[in-house]
């Protein structure tokens, strides 16, 4: 492969960022997300244990289901004893809870926040709306299946699921992380084009970079 081909491949690897104006394009990164290779088997196992025991959730309630997070945080259900804590910034959190239905307006923010989280990152989808639309299945403005747009690790079904079921979901997530099964970040990077196409199909006013680093 000569230098010209290499340059072409590199150019194809860059994101077009067509939603941005010429001036804005210089301000944002145009790099694609790449899958991350796991470290040594034992190191990864140890880190997975730490990741499972310290889940920081992004404090972003996307729908009505977010109301269930309040009793979960306070003294009635006390999620802190499981090593779960809320975190105000997507940069620092590792779990994204999709709290129920996501409207078209919200999915844009969900994508932005999800991409800004630093890997490994996990997604818990809460409520029936995230699985098949639930009671909003025929709404013109509600997303029916959230895993077309971002990879989901755990679904907690119900309308509304009670805090107990959310805790059960968290415990299942912990098991999966410890078993090394939660690889949503790499799944997103590998199938990036498919996810992006799905997102762009529904988000009409795309005025952000193609990947929010």
């Amino acid at each position: 492969m000569d230098k010209k081909d290499m340059k072409n491949i590199e150019k194809e690897m860059k994101l077009a960022n067509e939603g941005l104006s010429e001036k804005e394009r210089t301000l944002f990164s145009d790099a694609r997300p790449t899958p991350v290779r796991p470290l040594n088997k034992y190191v990864e196992k140890f880190l997975n244990w730490a990741r499972a025991e310290s889940l920081w959730i992004l404090g972003y309630g996307t729908g009505c289901g977010a109301i269930e997070l309040r009793p979960l945080m306070t003294s009635r259900y006390d999620m802190f004893r499981y090593g779960i804590a809320p975190r105000p910034s997507p940069r620092q959190s590792s779990v994204f809870i999709i709290g129920g239905y996501a409207s078209l307006k919200t999915i844009k923010r969900i994508v932005r926040s999800y991409e800004q989280m630093q890997g490994p990152k996990f997604v818990i989808a809460l409520g029936s709306c995230t699985i098949n639309g639930g009671m909003y299945y025929d709404s013109y403005y509600t997303i029916n299946r959230i895993n077309y747009y971002i990879p989901v690790d755990i679904y907690v079904a119900g309308c509304m699921p009670r805090p107990e079921s959310l805790i059960a979901g968290f415990n299942k997530l912990k098991e999966n992380i410890k078993a090394g099964k939660c690889d949503g970040m790499n799944k997103y990077a590998k199938n990036f084009d498919w996810y992006k196409a799905n997102q762009k199909k529904i988000i009409k006013d795309w005025n952000m970079p193609d990947y929010n680093w």
């Binding site: 730490a50 306070t74 802190f80 090593g83 940069r91 630093q118 680093w213």
Partner: protein
């Protein structure tokens, strides 16, 4: 003492202080949880959090200053700690105590905050500069009573060396600064409330209004560095207060001396924890006015008390 032995002692000392500081944070979270009527996270949760944040496999940097921010912060914490003798008379825990180290320590307490201000500013998030502005303003105001109290100590003991100040307080509990110069201790303990940034003075991090302020963009290893520093710096401040006002930790057996250190610093820390658990947060201007009123007057009174009575 050879340089390798000294280096070994310093490493032991830093590791002990960091582990102690982080464990203290874990205990404090537990205490807050019990006040709220919860069980709270396990005591070792801060350690797991640090391992996890270090173990993140992606880390976004926003530039050189952003990269250096947490480094400066950790350097501030290390600098503060390394010039404070932790245990009076111990070779291992004497660190680099020298003549005039008290001034150096006060400088280092400010240093980390300034470095962090430069670093967090480059993150580009609007909440970071708000947090930094609040942090630096509050810091300047709580430094006033603390500096006045230190001046009172300098007049009282005629030195700026922490080891000499600790030595002067040995013998009896009545030799502690707490009893020889209570006004200076009151002024300093009030400024400790601001230093520890617990509830009435938590305007810098303010999780509900400016989501954790300065470190909002910090992620992965950057955040882990800050968390490590929080343990070390927290321990360093408490040890400094123990040395200056509560007679330091001194015993022939080093493990007993460490236990004394842990007990004293724990009680000093509980002061700001209990105040924090009981009082709601001040607004920035309230906090600044507070420090410039009574604590400052008490600080001035402590100097007059030492100089003329």
């Amino acid at each position: 003492m050879s340089i390798t032995t000294k280096a070994l002692y310093v490493i032991i000392s830093v590791i002990v202080a960091t582990i102690y500081g982080l464990a203290l944070n874990g205990v404090v979270r537990k205490i807050y949880a019990r006040v709220h009527g919860r069980f709270g996270p396990p005591v070792w949760q801060p350690f797991i959090d640090i391992i996890k944040t270090h173990g993140n496999n992606v880390a976004i940097s926003h530039g050189i200053m952003y990269y250096l921010g947490p480094v400066f912060r950790l350097a501030g914490g290390l600098g503060t700690y390394l010039f404070i003798p932790v245990i009076f008379g111990s070779v291992v825990f004497s660190n680099f105590s020298l003549a005039g180290d008290l001034l150096l320590v006060m400088y280092f307490i400010f240093f980390g905050q300034l470095g962090m201000a430069l670093g967090a500013g480059e993150g580009g998030h609007p909440y970071s500069p708000i947090g930094i502005a609040r942090g630096l303003a509050q810091m300047t105001t709580f430094e006033v009573p603390f500096a006045l109290s230190v001046i009172a100590l300098a007049i009282q003991y005629n030195t700026l060396n922490i080891t000499t100040i600790v030595a002067a307080q040995q013998g009896s509990i009545l030799n502690w600064t707490l009893f020889t110069n209570p006004l200076a201790v009151v002024a300093a303990m009030i400024s400790l409330l601001g230093m520890n940034m617990h509830s009435p003075f938590s305007i810098v991090l303010a999780p509900q209004e400016i989501p954790i302020g300065p470190p909002i963009e910090m992620n992965s290893s950057f955040l882990a560095t800050l968390q490590t520093n929080r343990g070390l710096f927290g321990a360093a401040k408490l040890v400094l207060f123990m040395n200056l006002y509560f007679g330091g930790a001194a015993h022939a057996n080093i493990f007993v001396a460490l236990l004394i250190m842990i007990l004293k610093t724990f009680i000093i820390y509980m002061f700001s924890v209990f105040v924090g658990a009981a009082y709601p947060r001040f607004r920035p201007e309230q906090s600044m006015r507070f420090f410039l009123k009574w604590p400052t007057l008490i600080g001035i009174a402590s100097i007059l008390f030492v100089a003329y009575f």
